[in-house]
């Protein structure tokens, strides 16, 4: 089955990104497809590559990037929500005249249409937030 996932809270403060990660790993292991995870609201903060959690803690961004690399999960960060919260990829940083970008590997910034498209193209949609 094709399962779409939405994460709508940021990492560490809320458990949403962790629960979603365990859920997606289980779904993939069971042979389901998770074509896309959509990050919205503060969920976009998961995508920063500048996060440095203590070494004995899980690295939420790296966990997701690894999942994207291994299983081809499309990690989409909502552009409108990302821009409000200071998350930019290289293209956007250049376009907006900013001096840095901070999106981690495996994530890409795109529009809300990707959320709707995911709802249309998947069999189930599961939201993790607070």
């Amino acid at each position: 089955m094709k399962i779409g996932v939405v994460i709508s809270e940021g990492p560490y403060t809320h458990q949403a990104a962790d629960t979603a990660y365990h859920f997606v790993k289980s779904a993939l292991a069971k042979g389901h497809e998770v074509p896309r995870v959509f990050f919205y609201h503060d969920g976009v903060n998961v995508s920063t590559r500048l996060s440095i959690p203590p070494q004995d803690e899980r690295h939420i961004q790296k966990n997701w990037s690894a999942l994207a690399a291994e299983h081809g999960v499309d990690l989409v960060v909502c552009i409108a929500a990302a821009q409000r919260r200071g998350l930019l990829d290289e293209n956007e940083a250049t376009r907006q005249g900013k001096d840095a970008n901070n999106i981690a590997e495996g994530f890409r910034i795109s529009g809300l249409g990707q959320l709707i498209e995911m709802g249309i193209q998947t069999d189930r949609l599961v939201m993790f937030g607070d």
Partner: protein
């Protein structure tokens, strides 16, 4: 046609569990995750509300979240069934839609 409802907040902090129970239809399932697992405790201010719907609904709780919070199995309401993340996935695929009570 049935729905899997997820509740992730303590019923002692918000009304999300109550609102979820008020909108469930017979044959639906409720899965308590994260801080929502406190709704699975027996002998609390909300346990009667949960038990009252347990005939018409299936009530599940995410065991890894129960264990993380140190809730002994003996303290959980006997109308609640524990599942792991694989069980969560099965609940998603075996219901027609998932509704998160965020």
């Amino acid at each position: 046609m049935s729905t899997l409802h997820t509740v992730n907040k303590s019923p002692f902090a918000t009304r999300d569990l109550q609102s979820c129970l008020d909108h469930c239809r017979d044959g639906d399932a409720v899965l308590m995750i994260e801080d929502g697992v406190y709704g699975a405790l027996a002998g609390t201010a909300v346990s009667d509300a949960v038990s009252a719907r347990a005939g018409a609904l299936k009530i599940y709780v995410l065991t890894p979240d129960v264990n993380a919070r140190g809730l002994p199995e003996a303290r959980l309401s006997d109308v609640v069934t524990g599942v792991d993340y694989d069980g969560f996935v099965d609940l998603v695929t075996s219901h027609d839609r998932t509704q998160a009570w965020l």
